[in-house]
Structure formats: structure tokens, C-alpha cells
Symmetry: C2
Subunit: 512 residues, 2 copies
């Protein structure tokens, strides 16, 4: 493909992208195809000879789009949003053109330096405490990772190394000896990572990847599924009884099921009670809800991270107008990462890295190479400005409040399970066949008829395909989650979603 | 940014990308900026209000390009190539527009199914044995990972779990009991991963991430730095003496320093000698040189992978015309991965995944979400066809042979250290002050004056900035690596690189 062919192909691609976004609301949000739909449509072998772009491109419309779940659709109300905006797409175009596996400073200084700068911008935008700035005295800083999952796994590996190393050094052993390695290995099996039972599964998976144990701290519906100090203390004492050594904890700002916020202050107080608990790495998973910190009225939460927090993660690719992948990690002490992850063979040595003047982000993550992801973040933050980002967050939170009000307005049909937060409403359908009181002092009680009814309504809503929502099970309560906060979200779509829920509930109840 | 603004911005971006590629040969390959160049050029805070695209875009020329190391430049001869092509950029554009964190089939069926199909295409293109096809009876298949580093770490974690699980189950323990978890933890500290001392550092880093030990098998210059059967057997016996349990080995097809190919047949024979050695996970790291398998004359190598190999990895983003990231992993038994990595909480459950009919790639990697990377691979394979891909590989290998011949033609100045392979030539400058014979029976001997001279020439070449090359140290020999195989590589640039090397060598020698 020469320059002229590329120009024509790219122009045509741009028109198709614009048309895609403009016509999305008229499409079904979920595809109608069945598993295995694509294989019969595509040759089983790659072509022997080149194909023209026109042939390739036409397959997007006929073969790919019919199999897309449209995350940008205003009727996408499932999981969490994962938005994309035009300036973000422009960032990806330049990133692809400037392709470089920028594993150290020398391999693309602009890629490294822009990343440091935009992470500082983001820290300012979120009002994170200064300890997370690259310019902080404590030598903190930000880095763009792929997802919150590999981020938490990376934090756990760094935490594991930090904890084991300090214990082995305290015993007076010398690094690079057989005894040192043996002792490192002896201690690891006792390590245990903690998180609320409401934390995203990535913490349990991270513990698995890091080869350590994992225990979950019970969060309760009567405490709005927030991790509390007393529950954490119980677990820490239990670990002590079991001769386990807690080394890492994930605290949630916006848990996956219900957007609960763990009680940071209480939890940090408990962690300060014993010397060994003070050495636990505290990671804040704010993958989705962290975006709310751009709005002044939420920034008081970030104040909690000034002390007693080792790392903080927010995915701009969820609710902050940058497309996947842009998982932004901030760390208080970057040496915790680089000490754990740096392996520098001869072929990666260069005078800049050796001087210690530059940042080599390969030592901040599991991957060696990395894409130039700072460009899209830079473009989005400049195109929207802080004012545009704040407006977007406030508008979508308001949409969630409107929806929660609608759900509350039909308390004959619906019961809200947890406090609506950050645009998310979690509720169930109340069955007329409920065995007893379904709510006791404002707390939802497990109820089999309501569970069955809610599941039936949920499945019917998705199978009709006009909106896409998700469900979950919390403390024995089957619940529906609705969150509409991608860049195309609008009140009229949420009002229609409410109508659909009322209609289908009526339909299912009528059949019973 | 509305549709019209995006159209104008995107057209302008496309022109800038075309101009970038067309004018690259007239630019310096390495930037001239110093560490920290960018910070004074960019405000320390994000803008409060939106900025127009024209303001943002103009910063690319004035602030970003001056800090780029141009991996697409024909004078980029360092590390390994990391190419990009126009069809690949088009793939990234669609991928950004269709943004979805496609963690399971339902979250974007097209993303999952196209990935399965193009990985099968690639397996065919590389003539991999049928066991690596998604349709194989043994239930193998391919998946796109981010980099070879996270790929090898993921393989090690799966291997660790496979090995420990089979040992614990053999002892009759029941999963999900305290005894089972304790015993899993007891065994892990004895695990050790192996690789040649010439393997990429990602295997050592992977062992660190997986929390296991690592030992390297000595490869020798007199054996062209290939891992041999006898060297491996020595190490396996040593591990036995040390009461360690080898569970994983990386074998290289194209090692980082010299593009050596480990002696697969010998090594596999040694691994078959004992029952416990047969349980070692064998991973082929063909990150760069695996691309050569598209050319028929190299496909005999793939025949070695039909038996005794668990996984194979090639980065299309190095030498196969697709931009970073596109690290393609093939695995013989996908259950080895999904058994180790699957953690399915309620909010990720859905009827399709529960049915087992669909692939959920989140269980094939450390990250939950993933980009739609299959599009760019699909576009590139169709735009080039197999014929175009073979031509590209053959053309760039021939360039390397031409360069090696030039180096050989000046045996008064240069000594080739290892057999030139896959476009890479590794050589040193012979010092007239060498203490004794620098080559003995064709094998380079460590020589301090030659090391110093080679280092001086190397540093001067890069500081002049016309070409960019890398150096390494092998068995005490300081050497220069030259590989020119990105899509813009041409013979005239390699001939000029040779002239520069001769000139600068003369200059340095003249000063002495």
C-alpha cells in the first residue's frame, strides 16, 4: 500500500468511523449472531496473494460489525463504560505511526517524557496528594499500564519482593548468596494478600499470578458492602493465628458489584495498630470511580491517600474519555517497583540509563516494550480541558441519579440494594411471592422468589436486545446493575431503559 | 470535537503521517535532545479550558518529533526491527473506534472470533505443526498477547501451576482444602526455571514475577552460543543435586544477542531421558526470528515443534509488518492456561461462557480486558498476502547477508563473532594491540584492546547520529550488532553503514 492508496483508504476509514458513531443509536446494542458465526464467513487459510483495500474494508461492514457488542452505544448500560472519543482516536493514529517498543528512555525519549508529564497532569486533575507526582521529594510518580488487572498483579509482585527482602535483610543475610535465596523462598509461602470480598477478581488473580495466598475480608450488606476497620482487624488476627503474613491489601474506590467505597480512614487506622501491619502494601483500586476525582466535589476522597497508601490506580479507558488501554497507576515510591523489577542485561545498557538521569518504564511493569499511550491522554485532556472533563463526570453522575429516582418511584416493583453511586444503580425486582419481609431496616434480605423473578426479567431484557445490562449476586441477593456513562449517554435512553424494565417486569409478573 | 472537526483533524493527521514516512530518510535516526528536554516545553498543569486541534497538533512537530528515536528509519539498525505498515495503522484506527475491553466472548464476539481465526492463519503461514491450531484435536490454539515478556511470564505461571498441581494431586490431596493449599506452597520454593544464558532477560524476569528460582544454562562461543543437549543435562543434574525441581525451560529461535537457534532436537532428547524432565514446560521464544518461518526454506525448523513443545511465541510487531503490540502465542493445550488463570466471579458469568462453547481470552492472559488487535493482523496478512510476507523476509535476510559479506571483506579490521543469522551480523573491531591470537579455531577470544576499540567505535558511530546500532558483551567479547530489517530497509543504507564503520574505525585507529 503506497502513500496515495493509504490516503484514500484512511479517508474512507474515517468516513466509516464517523458514520458508525452517528448511526449507533439506530443499531442493536448486542449482536444477534451465535457462537462460531465468523468462521464460515472467512477463508480457512490466509490469501496467497495481496488483496485490494476495497475488498478488505468491505468485510468490516458485512463480517465484523454484525459481531460487535457496541460499548459506545447509548443503550450500553452493562459492566462499566469503556468510552472512546475523537481526540483519543487521533492519539492512536500518531501512536501507530511512531511505533517503537519504548522500553527505555533512549528508545524514544518523547514517549517516556510525555508519559511522565501527562501522568503529573492527571495527578493534578484528580487532586491526588503531591506524593504521587514524579517531582515529589519522596520520588513517586505515574505510569500507564495496560489494565487494572496487570497493574494490581505488578503491585503485588513488588509488594511481595519488598516484604520478603526486608525480612531477609533484617535477619542479616547477604544478597546473592544461596542462603539468601533459600530464605526468600522459605518466607514466600506464608505471604497472604487481602481484599474485600467485593474487590474485583483481579486481586485474587493477582495473588495467583504472584504465587501467594489470598484471603477476602467480608463486607456486609448492612454496611453497604464497604470494608470496615473491625472486619479487617478480624481477618488480620485470623491470619496471625494461621501463621500467615499479610503483605498486600487492595482497597476499593468504587467496587465492581456496587461502586462501594471502602472506609479508608478506619482501615488505615487498623493497619497502624501493629508494626507488621504497617508494612502491608496498600493499593487503591479506583479503576472506574477514580475518574470522579476530576470533579471538585469528590476530591476530598483523594485527601485520604496522602498517608498510608502505596499505590493508586484509575483506568482512564473506563470513564475518562480515553479509549482502552490507559490504566493509570500512581506510586508513592518508585524504587519499590524498580528495585523489584529491574533486570538489565548488557544489550539494554546505555549511558543514559546507567547515569540514572532518565526513567526506563520497562522497570515499572511486567512488559518490556510499551506503546506510546501518553499521546491519546494528552490529546483528550487538552481537547476537553479540565472543564470538559468535570462536565462529563457531573453529567453522567446526574444521569445515574435520575435513573435511581425512577427506580425509587416504583417501590411497588423495585428495591434498591445499595446506595447508588457514581452513576451505578443496583436493584432487584420484588416478588409478590416473597416469603417474608424482603427489606429489614433498609437492608435487602435474600429471597428466592425475588431472585428468580429478577433473573428472569434480567435475561428477558437482554434477550430483547434494545438495552444491555448486567446482573450480579451479592450476599445471596440476585441484583441488576445499570450504569450509563459512556460519552453518548443521555437521559432519554435511561428513561427508556426504565420503561423497558417496568414493561418486562409487568409481562413476567402477568405470566405468573 | 464533532464529526466535521474530527474529519478535518484526521485528514490532517494522515497527511502528517504520510509526510513523516516519506521524509524519514532525510532526518537523523536518533534525536539530539538531552534528558528532560520536554518538561520546559509543556505547561506543568493541564489546561482548564479546551484547546483547538490546531494548537494540539502543531505540538507534534515542535515538541514530540524532536524527541523520537525513529524505529522506522532505514538507518535504524539497533536492537531488532519494530516495523509498522499502512494497513496496520488502518487496523489500529478501526480498533480504537470499536473500543471494547473484550474480556469475554459476549463483550465482543467479533473481537474474539477474528482473533482465533487470524491466529490459525498465522499458524498456517508459519507452517506450525497442526497441534497449535484452534481446531486441533489436542485443543491447542493461538492468542495475541502484549509482548514476549508478559507472554513468557504467563507461560511460567501456567507451568508452575501445572507442575505443582500434578504433584499435589499425585499425593492424594483434595483441592480446596487447607492441606492442599499448604502443600502447593511447600513445593513452589523448589521450582526452578531454565533458559540459556543467551535467552532474553524476559525469562529471568518471568521467573521473578512467578516467584520461582531461575538458573541459566551456559551456552558457549565455540558452540555458536546455541544451547546444546550436554550443557542442559549438566544443569538438570546440578538441579537434582541442589534438590530443585525444574518446571520450565525457554528455548530460543533467534537469541537476543546473536540470533542463535538452540539445538532443539538434542535438547528434547535430553528432556526425554527422565520422567520428571518430561514434565518440564518447553517454551520456544521466537520473538524476532520466528517471522522467518513464513519463508518455505525455513519451515523445516517448525517441524521440530510437533512434539515436546508446549508453547511458541513470535512477535509480529518485530519483523512481520504489524505494529506494536502483536505478540502471538501458540499453545498446545489451552486447558493448561485456562485451568491456571480462570477466576470467574458472578459479574463475569453469562450463558455463553457457562456453556463452554466460546473462548474467553481473559483466561489466556494476565490482563482481563484486551484490545481488538486481530484487525491489524488481518489487514496486514491480506494486504501483503503470503507472497508479500515471504518477499519481505527474504529481502531483509539478503540485506543482512550482503552486510556480513562487506564485514568479511575487511578482515583486516573486523572479526565476525557468531554465524550471521536472520539479518543480524555480530562483529568486533580487531585491535592492532591485541595481546595474542584474537581468533582460535574460528572462535573469538576475549581481548581487552579489541574490547576497548570496539566500544570506542560503537559509541562514536551512535554519537554521530547518522545510523543507530547496538552493542553487547558475549563471553567477555565486546561486540557490535547490526540488523536492518524494518519495512524501509534498503541495501544502500547498509552499504553506507559499512562505510561509516570503516571510516570511524580508521579515525579511531589513526588517533591511537
Amino acid at each position: 500500500m503506497d502513500s496515495d492508496q493509504f490516503r484514500a483508504a484512511a479517508h474512507s476509514t474515517i468516513e466509516e468511523i464517523i458514520t458508525y458513531f452517528d448511526t449507533l443509536p439506530t443499531q442493536r446494542v448486542l449482536p444477534t449472531i451465535e457462537p462460531g458465526y465468523l468462521r464460515p464467513l472467512i477463508p480457512s487459510q490466509p490469501p496467497a496473494e495481496p488483496e485490494p483495500w476495497s475488498t478488505i474494508q468491505s468485510d468490516i461492514e458485512t463480517k465484523i460489525k454484525p459481531g460487535l457488542t457496541h460499548w459506545q452505544h447509548p443503550n450500553f448500560m452493562a459492566f462499566f463504560p469503556a468510552g472512546v472519543t475523537y481526540p483519543s482516536i487521533l492519539g492512536e493514529m500518531y501512536s501507530a505511526a511512531f511505533t517503537a517498543p519504548a522500553f527505555n528512555w533512549l528508545c524514544s525519549p518523547a514517549c517516556t517524557e510525555l508519559e511522565t508529564i501527562v501522568m503529573d497532569w492527571l495527578a493534578h486533575a484528580l487532586a491526588l496528594p503531591p506524593c504521587f507526582l514524579s517531582t515529589s521529594e519522596n520520588r513517586g510518580g505515574g505510569v500507564i499500564q495496560v489494565t487494572a488487572s496487570d497493574t494490581v498483579a505488578t503491585m503485588m509482585i513488588a509488594a511481595r519482593e519488598r516484604r520478603v527482602t526486608e525480612l531477609v535483610l533484617a535477619e542479616g543475610l547477604q544478597p546473592d548468596t544461596v542462603e539468601y535465596e533459600d530464605r526468600m523462598m522459605d518466607i514466600r509461602p506464608r505471604l497472604v494478600a487481602l481484599a474485600s470480598n467485593q474487590a474485583h477478581s483481579s486481586t485474587a488473580k493477582g495473588a495467583l499470578l504472584a504465587g501467594t495466598r489470598f484471603r477476602s475480608v467480608g463486607a456486609r450488606l448492612e454496611e453497604n458492602l464497604e470494608m470496615t476497620g473491625p472486619r479487617l482487624r478480624e481477618m488480620l488476627l485470623q491470619c496471625e493465628k494461621d501463621n500467615l503474613l499479610p503483605y498486600f491489601i487492595t482497597l476499593g474506590m468504587g467496587t465492581t458489584n456496587t461502586c462501594a467505597v471502602d472506609r479508608f480512614r478506619e482501615v488505615k487506622e487498623v493497619l497502624s495498630e501493629r508494626k507488621s501491619w504497617q508494612r502491608i502494601w496498600v493499593h487503591i483500586d479506583a479503576a472506574y470511580a477514580g475518574a470522579a476525582l476530576v470533579a471538585d466535589e469528590w476530591q476530598y476522597i483523594a485527601g485520604e491517600f496522602a498517608e498510608g497508601v502505596d499505590s493508586f490506580n484509575v483506568n482512564m479507558h473506563k470513564w475518562l474519555l480515553v479509549n482502552f488501554d490507559a490504566s493509570c497507576l500512581f506510586i508513592r515510591n518508585r524504587a519499590d517497583l524498580t528495585t523489584a523489577l529491574d533486570i538489565t542485561p548488557a544489550y539494554l545498557r546505555n549511558p543514559y540509563s546507567d547515569s540514572g538521569q532518565v526513567t526506563d518504564y520497562r522497570n515499572w511493569s511486567m512488559s518490556l516494550g510499551r506503546r506510546f499511550r501518553a499521546l491519546k491522554i494528552w490529546f483528550v485532556m487538552r481537547s476537553y480541558g479540565l472543564s470538559g472533563m468535570k462536565d462529563y463526570i457531573r453529567r453522567t453522575i446526574a444521569l445515574g441519579e435520575t435513573f435511581a429516582e425512577l427506580i425509587r418511584s416504583r417501590s411497588d416493583l423495585f428495591e434498591i440494594i445499595t446506595t447508588p453511586a457514581f452513576g451505578l444503580t443496583v436493584f432487584r425486582i420484588k416478588s409478590p411471592k416473597a416469603a417474608g419481609a424482603t427489606m429489614v431496616e433498609g437492608v435487602a434480605q435474600p429471597d428466592e422468589p425475588s431472585n428468580e423473578l429478577t433473573k428472569e426479567v434480567y435475561e428477558l431484557v437482554n434477550s430483547r436486545g434494545e438495552i444491555f445490562i448486567t446482573s450480579t449476586v451479592i450476599s445471596g441477593v440476585y441484583a441488576i446493575r445499570v450504569v450509563s456513562a459512556n460519552p453518548k449517554a443521555e437521559e432519554k435512553y435511561l428513561r427508556r431503559a426504565f420503561e423497558i424494565l417496568v414493561e418486562i417486569t409487568g409481562e413476567v409478573l402477568g405470566r405468573e
